[in-house]
Amino acid sequence: MLNMIRMELYRMVRMKSFWVILIIVGVVNVITVSLNDVMKDSPELQQAIEAAESEKDNPVANIGMSITMERNEDGNYGFLEIITSAAKGMLCALFIGIFTVIFATADFNSGYIKNYGGAVKHRWQMVFAKGTAVLAYTVIFFALFIASSCLGVFLGGHKVVMDPAGKIFEVLCIQGLLHVVFGWIIMSLCLIVRNNLISMIVACCISMHVFAALYSLADKGLRKLGWKNADILDYTVSGRIMKYGIDSSNILNSTLVVAAAFAIAACLFGSLYLTKKDLV
């Protein structure tokens, strides 16, 4: 098992997409965060943003990606604001999803799975090893994202104000966990459908709120059927990623339950499918 994890980590860091995605995210993040000030102070842009905001009846029904990083009263940025603004905007999930699709399908698409798949004692170990690599990638991604955001803030002429350590730990852990589980869901989807295109479309649609829009439509239907407070998004990992922020301690337990349920389901379905189906 440990050997298989070693192999997955080795091939992960040897993948071109691993470095490409991290470099793109790092560079783009530094630029956008450092230019955040310029955008904030532009009256024309402010008007456009306000106009767009006023059109929003239901924030989750809007397709696309919107990231807003708010400054403190002193003009500086809170550490957690930096993390949660991008995480809640599903930017991190989008890149983690893209990488997971490329990574999880690489050995199937290349046929490399034929070299070791038959010798594996239990196929669930393959899911576990890939899941561990996705976890490692998420940790690396978050570390880079935080570092590049802080650098962007400094380049923009501001400071990063640290929040209480306990709060940082809580939000980082929960958002990290939700993103890992999101990666596992995409990984299991890849193992089941074994198709890059379909998996990539689903990953992007979840990240770009297309699924959220579909859930909204379903909610309307459920409300007509009598479930007055229907909110499917609330029971999804992507919904929790969008909701969990600085003042979300009240939904900590329910978020953990949602994450655990999806983690178990993703790993279980992925393992079962891989066990029952032929590898090639």
């Binding site: 050997n3 298989m4 070693r6 192999m7 080795y10 091939r11 040897r14 993948m15 071109k16 690489a106 050995d107 290349s110 046929g111 490399y112 799975i113 034929k114 070299n115 070791y116 798949g117 038959g118 010798a119 594996v120 004692k121 239990h122 029952k276 032929d278 590898l279 090639v280």
Partner: protein, 301 residues
């Protein structure tokens, strides 16, 4: 008494309503080089996939090293396979592809990988990415990957496809060497009968998903009447040379052809002796036409 390290019992694999493998009973002895012969679509690859653990049988069973059913998981690591095209990460070098599998098998050390690369003639490829490899190079690397961990059973599906003549000889020699020196049992499929006949100790002939016959190399040789066919200028004089060499099982078939049915491995020696005696040999070879004829007769519709 022979020990079978692989035995299949009424093994079947059905895709939709099509039986790719239709109840085969295969027996492979320890240390054998077992050649699985069959036309395209005969079910060779599907059989090897099941034995290699990549695909599950629809019905029937098989045992590996005496283990079957749930116990198969214990011996899966002793089987390695190269099925169809070699599965390689195109953006990685040959070394990195091997390194990934070595990590999976818990094998450490750069020397081990370098030895494997040297064994298949890829010691000098450096950091060249495998997506730029020729088919022959890919095939060699695929064999090297299959050799990682020194398996007890090596399952090779058409391993000489795409290799140049020199490469075919090298791989053939390598397979014979590892079988003899390391005691690795090799299950190899091919439709190139001539090549298979140079390495295989046992044969299984497949047709339409069924195993129509299993036989040893000796039995096949007897049935196919493998012989040396020499085209010479003076057959009568050549006969006396052969008599002098102690060869008795031969016949002059026409004004310039002699067929020799013994000492098939001494073709080069016979050629040299005939030339030394002043017989002009314009062609000499082990005739495998009847091997093909035999195969075709066993797999005929």
């Amino acid at each position: 008494m022979s020990e079978y390290i692989l035995q299949t019992h009424d093994l079947r694999k059905v895709y939709g309503d099509q039986a790719a493998v239709d109840g085969i009973d295969l027996k492979v002895e320890r240390g054998a080089i077992y050649g699985l012969i069959g036309k395209n679509g005969a079910g060779k690859t599907t059989t090897l996939k099941m034995i290699g653990g990549l695909s599950a049988p629809t019905s029937g069973s098989f045992s590996l090293f005496g283990k079957s059913g749930a116990e198969l998981a214990q011996v899966r690591g002793r089987v390695s396979c190269l099925i169809e095209d070699p599965g390689l990460f195109g953006n990685l070098s040959a070394y990195e592809n091997l390194k990934a599998k070595c990590l999976c098998y818990g094998i450490k050390g750069d020397d081990y990988i370098k030895k494997l690369l040297a064994l298949v003639g890829l010691a000098d490829v450096g950091k060249k990415k495998t997506k730029h490899f020729s088919l022959g190079m890919r095939q060699r690397l695929g064999i090297a990957l299959a050799m990682v961990g020194e398996p007890d059973l090596l399952v090779l599906d058409e391993p000489i496809n795409g290799l140049d003549p020199e490469g075919i000889v090298e791989i053939r020699d390598m397979l014979t060497q590892v079988s003899k020196e390391k005691g690795i049992t090799i299950l190899i499929s091919s439709h190139i009968l001539e090549e298979l006949s140079k390495v295989a100790t046992h044969y299984g002939i497949m047709s339409k998903g069924r195993l129509v016959e299993q036989l040893t190399a000796e039995e096949l040789s007897e049935r196919c009447s493998l012989r040396i066919e020499a085209v010479v200028d003076r057959p009568e004089f050549a006969s006396t040379v052969l008599d002098g060499m102690g060869i008795t099982n031969y016949k002059v078939t026409d004004r310039e052809t002699i067929q020799i049915s013994e000492r098939l491995e001494d073709v080069a020696y016979i050629n040299r002796e005939l030339n030394a005696a002043g017989v002009l040999v314009s062609k000499i070879a082990v005739n495998n036409e009847s091997l093909e004829s035999y195969f075709l007769s066993r797999t005929a519709d």
